[in-house]
Symmetry: C2
Subunit: 409 residues, 2 copies
């Protein structure tokens, strides 16, 4: 396949499997100006699939960075209504939402964390109608990626720009299974994730214990009636979609007051344009009580101090260490990829649909039974080649789930 | 000067002379994704000049074209509030507005004129709060250009893309007087335009007669107390700005019920992504009663049939045929440049500030004394190397204003 054919096939699966845009439905795309050429291909695919209208909200990394550098702090404490309505309006109309990430992982390195934090608080409030519809499974959404020169340079620092961009595109294509009968490959992949989920859902473990040579020694509780989820999701009205492309994980809801011990990061974490490396989190009663990072501790601090929920866990995700993305050996510095290369957790907001009828509960009721609420949802990777995970049921019986970094069943 | 130095100087004058952004003021920039690299340079210049925040609204020609091709007509009959508020909100806050044009002159060639017309009607209504503040001299605004591959290819069809883009940038730099002490050059240029205005304002002609070998034979009335304007403008609060860069014209308000005879176009007109070539307009009692175009007549029809005012004149502009842009010999297919290469008129909306106290009148009162109101404002060029223009005063005395295409005084 030529590069153009691969891009076209990729755009097609984002539209038909990712957001699964329906005839007459609106599609909102968010992306950086660097991804404009790819956004055009996706737009054409969406109209071909019957979209009523494709609305593209462009942002520009470098212009956003200048804003953080030069605009006064009070600019970030509110989001003007025109901006939030650009999402909320279409969410209320039942649109589908595609986010194309292509950012420089260090776009905002060194900018004032107060401004970033203020923006997060304001955005959480301003975009709530949109987020609520996501949480209640009322809309299709998908996060995917496009290569950009700035991002490619960080992933392949020794190559020329042209070669780095080409290599990053190829890595993306491999990660999303481009080539041949891609629809069939995704169907099979989705089914295999569903089988893992079925096994774990049957077990209904009370807690999981993590151990590896890096120093992780950690136990986390699961909420009652938790649901392991993976592969395609489904809206209330029965439209399937893949919320992430690629996706290799099965994930569920931890009890946000039940976490003890030490987690060691196994991959760098790129968060809002800064990279946090080699960090340790110590939990007690579900809460981070001690933390340290060799690099980016200021950013880690900003995440953890955003609110109470940002110090607790909202997601447990299992990914074998031999997943295709992991085997590529590429450190993408982009959570969408790196989280699919290793077992991970998320600090912050839980996914209500990873507990039976969770999406029917309001925030307070969900929190009362262990479902975390927070302004943040930040994935961080802990999986290693020697990771073992043991499931423990109500009677204290133990089942080995992961050994040597991969599935034990 | 290097290319980067020229771009930097250009960005600086757009910020300091064009919109003249004030310390603590917001700047809204509108541009195509193709102009993102230049928008970044302008953004940096604006923050350096003390802007509180720079908001950039990106659009994408190719995505807009697909929308016109595939979205149903009713998508174009209204503008969602988030979109209009993206302008109106900042206009109400007293922001400055910079529009950077870089479009393919034929971006929308062949799309359904009904959809374009519907969008124009809806936009006129939705953005009215913004337009009203412009008309009342309550905000600084500037239209300028950035080269793009699509545009450059149309201007220099025989060159490689790289060479065409470079040539178009150089042509833009020359047109806006980049190099050396550019601030001083603009000051001198502005003063020379003001002198032309002073002479014409003193004369207060009743009408102007146009004649040339192309077939133009035309007389147009001027409103009472008309003001010839050129060079820098000034907001109510005394902030000067250049509404166009480049600008070579002096312009005033025609009486929209006084135009007789035939106008022949002397340059192609690129309007909303289509090009109209070699067209003739015959006027009677101020109104176009007959028209024909060798190419793009459908687009001309769309303009003229938008409303009553779009068949009448709203602006008379004088530009010597030996202006720098004209001398470059380049047909830009972009009104911002081509209108500064030749005498022109605009069909449609008048500029209220080209009549004494015009900006204090409401639309109906202005219309009653000859100031046109319309949904459109479309400049078209009539200047040729042999154009003569004669001013006629209340007593019937004649003064030659233009001879052989240039100033006669």
């Amino acid at each position: 396949m030529t590069f153009a054919e691969k891009q076209k096939q990729y755009a097609d699966i984002l539209v038909t499997l990712g957001v699964n845009v329906q005839s007459g439905q609106e599609l909102v795309i968010r992306c950086d100006t660097a991804a404009a050429p790819f956004a055009r291909i996706v737009t054409a695919a969406a109209y071909t699939a019957g979209a009523r209208e494709v609305i593209v909200h462009f942002r520009d990394d470098k212009i956003s960075r200048m804003r953080y550098e030069y605009a006064p702090t009070d600019v970030f404490t509110s989001v003007p209504e025109w901006e939030s309505e650009g999402m909320n309006y279409y969410a209320a109309r039942g649109a589908a939402f595609l986010s194309i990430v292509s950012e420089d992982p260090e776009a905002f390195k060194g900018v004032d964390p107060q401004k970033l934090a203020a923006r997060n608080v304001a955005a959480d409030e301003a975009f709530r109608p949109y987020y609520e519809r996501m949480d209640k499974n009322e809309l299709q959404w998908c996060v995917a990626a496009a290569a950009s020169p700035e991002w490619a340079r960080k992933v392949f620092p020794d190559r020329s720009e042209e070669s780095a961009v080409a290599a990053l595109w190829e890595a993306i294509f491999r990660a999303v299974r481009i080539g041949g009968n891609v629809q069939e490959k995704w169907t099979e992949h989705g089914e295999s994730l569903k089988k893992r989920c079925a096994f774990l859902n049957e077990k209904q473990f009370k807690k999981l214990r993590y151990q590896n040579g890096l120093g992780t020694d950690f136990t986390v509780g699961l909420v009652e009636n938790h649901i392991w989820t993976g592969g395609a999701e489904q809206t209330k009205t029965g439209v399937t979609f893949f919320a992430n492309m690629p996706t290799e994980e099965v994930f569920t809801m931890p009890h946000c007051e039940q976490a003890e011990g030490v987690l060691k990061s196994s991959l760098p974490l790129s968060y809002q344009g800064s990279v946090i490396r080699n960090f340790t989190l110590r939990f007690h009663d579900g809460k981070v009580v001690e933390y340290h990072a060799e690099e980016g501790e200021e950013t880690l601090k900003m995440i953890l101090e955003a609110d109470d929920g940002s110090r607790r866990l909202g997601e447990i995700a299992l990914v074998p260490y031999n997943s295709p993305i992991s085997q590529s050996g590429i450190l993408f510095l982009q959570t969408l990829f790196d989280e699919n290369a290793a077992c991970h957790f998320a600090l912050g907001q839980c996914y209500p649909n990873t507990m039976r009828d969770g999406e029917k509960l309001n925030r307070e009721d969900l929190r009362a039974i262990g479902g975390n609420y927070a302004i943040n949802h930040v994935d961080f990777m802990v999986g290693t080649a020697d990771l073992s995970i043991t499931g423990i049921n109500a009677s204290g019986d133990e089942t080995l789930i992961f050994e040597n970094g991969g599935w034990a069943f």
